[in-house]
């Protein structure tokens, strides 16, 4: 049957597909911003030196190199500070945005964010715990990551009834688990030494990428990229899941299996993000909306679009954090300050109905 038919009309006039230049722009933006980030910072390195340092590093891969015409501090600043930080910003932006798009599809609700299952509350509690135990930054990341996973696991099992996990149960369980971990966090904040530990906890929660190193990227990179690949692979099924469990069953999709897979992928992404740079709100919620306006609601194109735009967005935010004032601005503050007005603008533009 499929072979016989002939296309009777040009479907390109009906299909709402992003044009080539849309993709080109979306793909170029994070790449260009990543490179631009290497030139910017409080410690002034002349652009010529930045280029020379980069060229030297690239050549050294092939056994070559350039004669050193720059101070050591410049090389450390560009290669060991700015580069890992920019890479982290790009991947966290991409991951949070794709997670948001996946959850909005899975929960059939354009208003949820990637933290809806309690991952941020769990990870914050874990970080606070690690800080009062006096662990180093790797310890804080590890405990925070583990508590983020735990919180989502509790949410999932609370919501699991009669071999199914209805999305309403997931949202409600997520609220319960978030509230509990937030209360535990308050207990810690209330009892902890107010001069030293409390500011450390508060500052950690506001989010920053300032301590990201290459070894961090290597440790977290593999599961993080695998989770992003997972979301990319199942992106078509998000369309089907967004129609509801009954419809998904009618279309031959085992929705429970895909829900679990999507929850695992987003939880890895969000736990790693929170463990590395605290709670960064208003990215996973705003970017998918913005992308839906550009490429339409089909998750086949929406998921890759959110990855590219999210990466670009967080690179811009991180550069602003570093450059706007002499003291670095916590990232969570800036994403809210920039994200909320953008969301308000989207809200006005779509007149409240996301349709």
């Amino acid at each position: 049957m499929m072979e016989e038919m002939k296309s009777s009309v040009d479907l390109s006039s009906i299909e709402r597909r992003p044009r080539f230049w849309h993709w080109l722009l979306m793909a170029l933006a994070p790449a260009v911003l990543l490179i631009v980030s290497l030139f910017m910072g409080r410690y002034w390195v002349p652009p010529g030196q930045v280029l020379a340092i980069l060229a030297d590093r690239i050549l050294s891969v092939f056994g070559g190199g350039l004669p050193q015409t720059w101070p050591d501090a410049a090389a450390i600043s560009v290669i060991n500070v700015r580069l890992p930080r920019a890479v982290a910003a790009a991947f966290i932006g991409a991951g949070l945005s794709a997670s948001g798009a996946a959850f909005q599809g899975m929960f059939q609700n354009p208003l949820v964010d990637p933290f809806v299952l309690g991952v941020s509350a769990g990870a914050s509690f874990g970080a606070a715990l690690a800080i009062i135990w006096g662990l180093d930054s790797f310890g804080i990341q590890l405990i925070s990551f583990a508590c983020g996973l735990c919180a989502v696991a509790i949410t999932y099992f609370l919501a699991h009834v009669l071999k199914t996990t209805p999305v309403l149960m997931l949202v409600l369980s997520g609220m319960v688990v978030s509230a509990f971990f937030q209360a535990m966090l308050s207990v810690i904040k209330y009892t902890v030494d107010a001069d030293e530990k409390l500011p450390a906890i508060t500052f950690w929660l506001m989010g920053s990428l300032s301590n990201v190193t290459f070894s961090d990227l290597l440790i977290a990179g593999v599961p993080y990229l695998a989770a992003m690949a997972g979301l990319f692979i199942v992106r078509w099924k998000l369309n089907v899941l967004s129609m509801g469990d009954m419809e998904a069953h009618a279309l031959g999709v085992n929705s429970e299996r895909y829900k679990l897979l999507i929850i695992i992928c987003t939880t890895i992404i969000t736990s790693v993000s929170v463990a590395f740079c605290g709670i960064i709100g208003w990215v996973g919620q705003v970017i998918p909306h913005f992308c839906r306006m550009i490429v339409g609601p089909d998750h086949k194109t929406l998921v890759p679009a959110t990855m590219l735009v999210g990466a670009a967005y967080l690179l811009v935010i991180d550069n602003l954090c570093r450059l706007l004032s002499t003291n670095e601005i916590p990232m969570g503050i800036l994403t809210a300050v920039v994200g909320a007005p953008i969301f308000a603008w989207l809200l006005r533009r779509t007149r409240g109905g996301w349709n």
């Binding site: 709402r16 599809g105 354009p110 099924k237 967004s242 009954m246 009618a250 031959g252 349709n355």
Partner: protein, 258 residues
Amino acid sequence: MINIQNASFSYDGVNPVWQDVNIHIASGECFCLMGPNGCGKTTLFNCINGRLPLRTGHVLIDGKDVRDYSTNELAKVMGIVYQEHSAPFPYTSLEVVRMGRTPYLGLMGTPSRQDTEFAYHVMEELGIEHLAGKSYTQISGGERQLVLIARAVCQQPRIILFDEPTSHLDFKNQALVLETVRNLSRRGITIVMISHFPNHVWNIADSAAMMNYQGIVVHGSVKEVMTEENLTKTYGVGVKIYRTVRDGKEICFCAPDL
């Protein structure tokens, strides 16, 4: 071919919703199930499509128990059209119809150009290609129902189940949906439809069954099933059947005897 044998169902394991249900639906037949609200029609519907497990008995689809099919396998054999509902995102109607290709895509697949063209082709066949570019959330309820039917056809199934497809629709859209169902039946697709409107049975069905709170009242050909006595027994109100001949065709309809 659908064979329901000695079926019973119970939500609590004690009180059966219905029992001793035996229904045979031949290949290519159009079958309608009627009954008052809450008598278990939708439960039976969900047992036929494999979402709910029977307590006793079997639902056999082409000789194989429906619970032995994988979800994906079943979706290639059976399409399901529920009552129209809105989507949270403004997909185009073509995108919604194209979702019918999902059972053929595998774990990682996304629909190809050919899938999209096939979806459009199905919309043309059903005469709704003008809806293709329109947002699924902004078309009327009747149009949405036709889009969902097109989506089921896009699965290339041998059987399509309908759960009260006309219940929220106005007069014209009821007629459009019924006509579409009849055309699908004429193409040889086996149809199982739950209906709230006894008159629709005369319009499209080959065979029918009536169900009330005690179980199946009657099952058989339209002539055997559609009698004043059966309708009265099923719905618990007096029902009169009116027959007339127009253009050499006998037309039947019923109305409650108030």
